[in-house]
Symmetry: C2
Subunit: 146 residues, 2 copies
DNA sequence: CCTTGACCCGAAGTGCACTCCAGGTTGTTA
DNA sequence: TAACAACCTGGAGTGCACTTCGGGTCAAGG
C-alpha cells in the first residue's frame, strides 16, 4: 500500500537528482526536518518535492550552494525575513538577466561563425578574399586560420 | 616605445582574464605559438586577443575546456576540419538555446516569488488565505513556510 | 527465516577550472 | 648599476558541487 510519502529513490526521480545529492543538500542545510520511518528511513512529502525543485531551479541558474543555504535559512525564519528573501531573489534575478545577455551575445557570435563556415563549405564565402585560406572573421585566429 | 604586441598584463586586461588563466589556457592547448621576445617573454598579437575573446565567450556559455581544446585543434587543422568545426559549434549553439530556456523558466519562477513577497510586504497578498502565515505558493515549502 | 535490494552514516575521493607558490630571469627606471 | 616590478617555469593548492566508499541496518518477497 502506497502512502503520501516518497522513498528516496522516488524523490530522486521526481526531482531529477541523485539520492546522494538529496542527502548532500540535507547535510548542507538546504532541506530540514525530512520525515523518517520508525526505522530511520526518509519519507519525502510533496512539499519537499516542490522545495527541491525550487532549489534545482536556483542551482540551474548558477546560484551557489551557500546562497541557497542562506535562502533556506530565511525561509525557516518565516515572515520576519520576507524582506531579506525579496532582496536575495531580486539580486539573483539580476544575475539571471545578466546571464541571458551573455548567452544572447554568444549566440550571435556562434551564429555568425556557423554562417561563415556554411558559406565556405558551400563554396560561396561572403568575404572579399574568398578564395584564400586566411580569413580573420572566420574563427578569430586570423593569420593562421582557415 | 610601444609596438604592435601586448605584454601578458596588457593581454590579461584586454581579455578580462588573469595572467595565470592565459598561461593555463596555453598549457591546455587552447593557444598555440604565442610569440616571445629574445628573453623569452610572451608577446600577444591582436589575433591572440580576438581568439581568447572567442574562447571566453565559449567558456561563458559553459563549454568545457576539453571541448574548447578540440575546437582549437580543429582550427589548427585548417579548412579540412571546417565541417567538424561547424558540427561542434552547431552542438554548442543548441546548448546555448537550451540554457536560455532554463533561464527563462527560472526568471518566471523568481518573478512569481518576487511578486508574491512584494504583495505580502505591501499587506495586499493576492491569495485567498491572505491573512494566514501559511502559503504554499510563496516559497515552495508549503506547510512551514511563511 | 533468509535473501536481497534499498537505505543509513561519516568520511574520503573526484573532476573541473582555475589560482598560487617558490625560486629564478628580464627589462625598465632612477 | 642597482633596484624593482613584471615575467618565467613546474608543480602544488583551492573551492565548488557533487560522488563514491565501506560497513552496517531495514523491509518486502519467497
Amino acid at each position: 500500500m502506497t502512502n503520501e510519502f516518497l522513498t528516496p529513490a522516488e524523490m530522486a526521480a521526481a526531482c531529477s537528482v541523485s539520492v546522494d545529492t538529496l542527502r548532500y543538500y540535507e547535510r548542507e542545510g538546504l532541506l530540514d526536518d525530512i520525515a523518517r520511518t520508525s526505522g530511520g528511513q526518509r519519507q519525502y512529502s510533496s512539499n519537499d518535492v516542490a522545495w527541491v525543485q525550487v532549489l534545482r531551479c536556483l542551482r540551474a541558474t548558477a546560484m551557489p550552494i551557500r546562497e541557497m543555504r542562506a535562502f533556506a535559512e530565511l525561509v525557516r525564519e518565516g515572515e520576519a525575513a520576507l524582506a531579506d528573501r525579496l532582496d536575495l531573489l531580486a539580486n539573483h534575478r539580476k544575475r539571471i538577466v545578466d546571464q541571458v545577455a551573455v548567452l544572447h551575445d554568444a549566440l550571435e557570435l556562434v551564429d555568425h561563425k556557423i554562417e561563415a563556415y556554411t558559406a565556405v563549405l558551400a563554396g560561396t564565402p561572403k568575404v572579399e578574399n574568398a578564395g584564400q585560406t586566411r580569413n580573420p572573421t572566420l574563427d578569430g585566429k586570423g593569420i593562421r586560420a582557415s
